[in-house]
């Protein structure tokens, strides 16, 4: 199941999308996500779906791979779907006691569902077609101007890099600790909420200690490799705006314009 989480995973490639400056992609993703909430009807969603599918196609990441990433959140999508379907007031279509499906409910459920799916695909494409280090470089650069008001842009980006790097490691560690404690008779599954919370102590304490140990070792290794903060650091692949970034930004503007026009005119 853990391997099914495509959000945060990188799919190597050298498509146009891969080569775009990360800042273009981050801003593009944000704009897309906001645009998703400006869309209110079928035509709007058609534009949104077309837009993202075009990006997926250019990125050459298999759609099947991306859709696999929807599996873990499938329940949430289904849940949202049903909540909207049954809880929206309006023109009743079918009803049985208090379970009422309205026309508005059906519309809302359908569109909210699509919105969620597109949200996930949109975010996934960002992480699938952008190396983690470039993602954090991009965030660091975008937050750069905020350094003047005290935002530690570089440190935040470095924290993100390290977090991304160690999430799989810590997940594995959790698994190992759980198994070791279960072998000593620990029971993580039964009992009421209080009992279950208490049973987590043999899991959480070793995990925290592991995390601290990793942090200590890592800090030493980073210092040994001459890390001294963000000043004067270069990058192997420097971020530069190329022609394709300009084209992509124009495409993005065109996309937003289309969405807005659609809302106003239709």
């Amino acid at each position: 199941m853990i391997r099914d989480i495509t959000l945060g995973q990188y799919y190597p490639g050298d498509s146009w999308v891969h080569k775009l400056d990360p800042r273009t992609k981050i801003i593009g993703t944000f704009v897309y996500l906001i645009a998703l909430f400006l869309v209110k009807d079928f035509w709007g969603f058609l534009i949104a779906v077309t837009g993202i599918l075009m990006v997926v196609a250019i990125s050459r990441v298999p759609l099947s791979f991306i859709l696999k990433g929807l599996k873990p959140v499938f329940i949430i999508i289904l849940f949202t779907f049903f909540i909207n379907m049954f809880m929206t007031k309006g023109e009743v279509l079918i009803g049985w006691k208090f379970l009422v499906i309205t026309k508005e409910g059906l519309y809302n459920a359908f569109f909210m569902g699509i919105r969620l799916v597109l949200l996930i695909i949109g975010s996934s494409i960002l992480t699938l077609a952008t190396k983690p280090i470039k993602l954090t470089d991009g965030i660091e650069s975008l937050l750069g101007p905020l350094k003047k008001i005290g935002v530690p842009a570089h440190e935040l980006a470095m924290m993100m890099t390290i977090a991304l790097r160690f999430i799989p490691t810590l997940l594995e560690e959790t698994d190992k600790i759980m198994k070791a404690q279960m072998a000593r008779g620990a029971d993580f599954e039964s009992g009421n909420i209080f009992k279950r919370a208490k049973s987590l102590i043999p899991l959480l304490i070793p995990l925290f200690i592991s995390a601290f140990r990793i942090a200590q070792d890592l800090a030493m290794a980073m210092e040994a490799r001459c890390y001294s903060g963000g000043e004067n650091r270069t990058r192997m692949t420097a971020m530069t705006y190329e022609k394709r970034d300009i084209l992509a930004t124009l495409g993005l503007i065109a996309f937003v314009a289309t969405i807005l026009l659609e809302r106003i005119l239709i």
Partner: protein
């Protein structure tokens, strides 16, 4: 009490595109009181196999009979299995969490539902059995101890459950020579005093040769070889093909054999190697 494993098969992520066969038709038996060594390179299925023995993993097919209970049957309680099968993972000191050594070692027996008196007694016994001084460390925080001591405390935590079978996965990994020797001695002593089945998974062929009655060699999820240490380590070519080494003494004797010397088969220990060398270098004395 014996262990019978028949046609054990385990597939990871079955049905998904990246499914992989971890164990295929693994069958073997272990007699009461036997000391078994499991060797095989990383990825051969050793860890997967031992996790089936204490019920942490369920097989796709096959059976595991411990004593007279088939633990793969649905109605068997996990808690009962873990009572009987103790499993010490690699780097077990990473599982320590309590405020004092006593309380950490007490975790296992407490989970078994024993009375406080029984638990306390088991804790003291277990700590002594692993060669530590209860009076000295019982009330100290486990995190203050040295690496070797921490490891022994972690092992004590499993022994305190008085399992009928003790499985140890690379118990000497990462230890310096002295700690390595001490832990090995400790395992030998525990096996001899408790007289239970002990299963040792290790990369260290010298350790295996020294301690075990029977060796199981795993490769690609199957049992590739089975026999006494002498039998298994005599098959140098086969082991080499699997990427496995020999105990140092056997390896040196094998080198000499390849140079044309008539070396006795099945030499495992440094002492045996010495005797054999004397035999071939001073034939006039030994005659």
């Amino acid at each position: 009490m014996s262990i019978q494993v028949r046609d054990l098969t385990h597939i990871y992520s079955e049905g998904l595109p990246y499914e992989s066969v971890a164990l295929k038709d693994v069958s073997f038996s272990i007699e009461d009181g036997e000391f078994v060594g499991v060797i095989g390179h990383t990825g051969s299925g050793k860890s997967t196999m031992i996790q089936h023995l204490n019920g942490l993993l369920k097989p796709r097919s096959g059976s595991i009979t411990i004593g007279d209970v088939d633990i793969t049957k649905g109605n068997v309680l996990m808690r009962d299995i873990r009572r009987r099968i103790g499993l010490v993972f690699q780097y077990p000191e990473y599982q320590l969490f309590e405020e004092t050594v006593h309380r950490d070692v007490a975790f296992g027996p407490t989970n078994l539902g024993l009375t406080k008196e029984e638990v306390d007694q088991r804790v003291i016994e277990a700590i002594n059995l692993v060669g530590l001084d209860y009076d000295e460390i019982g009330e100290r925080s486990p995190f203050e101890l040295s690496g070797g001591q921490k490891r022994r405390v972690a092992i004590a935590g499993v022994i305190a459950m008085k399992p009928e079978v003790l499985i140890l996965d690379e118990p000497t990994a990462g230890l310096d020579p002295k700690a390595h020797k001490d832990v090995l001695e400790m395992i030998k002593k525990i096996h001899e005093t408790q007289k239970n089945i002990t299963i040792l998974v290790s990369h260290n062929m010298n350790d295996i040769a020294k301690l075990v009655d029977k060796v199981l060699v795993m490769e690609k999820g199957r049992i590739a070889m089975e026999g006494t240490p002498r039998q298994v380590f005599s098959q140098a070519q086969k082991l080499k093909k699997m990427g496995l080494a020999l105990p140092q003494a056997s390896d040196m004797m094998n080198k000499l054999r390849n140079r044309g010397f008539d070396i006795k088969e099945g030499i495992l220990t440094n002492d045996e190697a010495f005797v054999e060398l004397v035999r071939i270098l001073k034939p006039d004395i030994k005659g």
